[in-house]
């Protein structure tokens, strides 16, 4: 069974630690070249390859990632 996911990142709360970047099995996440209000290069999804595995969200120290998932 295949899944498709989508992450929503609260970019203003993101501190750009990049722990989620390495946790994603499909390399969906990178740090933005832009900065948020705190001056951090926040995490953002750069590919449409999310499978909704929640790995990024559960390693995020600041709990800024919400994950949505549907069956295909």
């Amino acid at each position: 069974m295949a899944f498709k996911g989508e992450i929503v990142i609260d970019k203003e709360r993101c501190k750009g630690c990049a722990v989620c970047v390495g946790a994603c099995p499909n390399q969906v996440i990178e740090l933005s070249k832009n900065v948020n209000g705190k001056g951090y290069n926040y995490a953002e999804a750069v590919k449409d390859a999310c499978i909704g595995c929640t790995s990024c969200a559960i390693v995020c120290p600041d709990g800024v990632i919400s994950v949505y998932k549907v069956k295909l």
Binding site: V8, K15, A18, V19, T54, S55, V59, Y68
Partner: protein
Amino acid sequence: MNTDIVKPENLVYSRTKVLTDATMHYCPGCGHGTTHRIVAEVIEELGIQDSTVGVAPVGCSVLAYNYFDVDFQEAAHGRAPALATAIKRLNPHLSVFTYQGDGDLAAIGTAETIHAANRGENITMIFVNNGIYGMTGGQMAPTTLVGMKSATTPYGRRVDLNGYPLRITEILATLPGTCFVSRQSVHTPAAVRKAKKAIRQAFENQQQKKGLSFVEIVSNCNSGWKMTPVQANKWMEENMFPNYPIGDIKVDGKIVEGIGTDRLVVDHPLTVVQ
């Protein structure tokens, strides 16, 4: 954003409501944030938000009380287990947990830690060990590795000057008052899942009045170690884990099979940081 997917009914993960909306003051990538979150998730899953009292330490997590949406007390440095002892004894229906760092729990508060464990207090203790005093600016902790540099061991920790890294978790496992003693980490998705399972076990044991449950989280200190968060997690795997092996040490009052006396009674450091 794909609005076909981002709908409430498709939500599979979001920040637990047992955390407040306050932005945590921790440095980027700090394991405290993740540890807070999984403790809060366990409280939510067990349905005990209205009957949980936490005790915060002095150190980086001194403001933990701002982040958990449960009643909270802030202890004097090292005294959290003493507070928790009284909270629990006077209010046996509450789930009581302490949250402490290595300086708080294993240096200034060693006596309170050992005696709460030895009395078998029915509480849950969360211990975050990053081998350094983060808040005061990166000084040596009781758990600083041999050879590891800190603000007060600028040339590396020396056994002849500073003694050995203290493995208090192993010490606690030898006490009859502890029911569950586990060491985990929160730097990868798999590690977080295991750590959360251990923390859940630690809270469930308390509900079942089994004695003291203790979960150490070996964590990072990017600022103190002077590394990026990702580098720090790698350094932690390579240097902290050999000295502080991950896994359950004591389950249901029994030392886990295969953990020999060399783990519980260590007279030399396992590795030296170069």
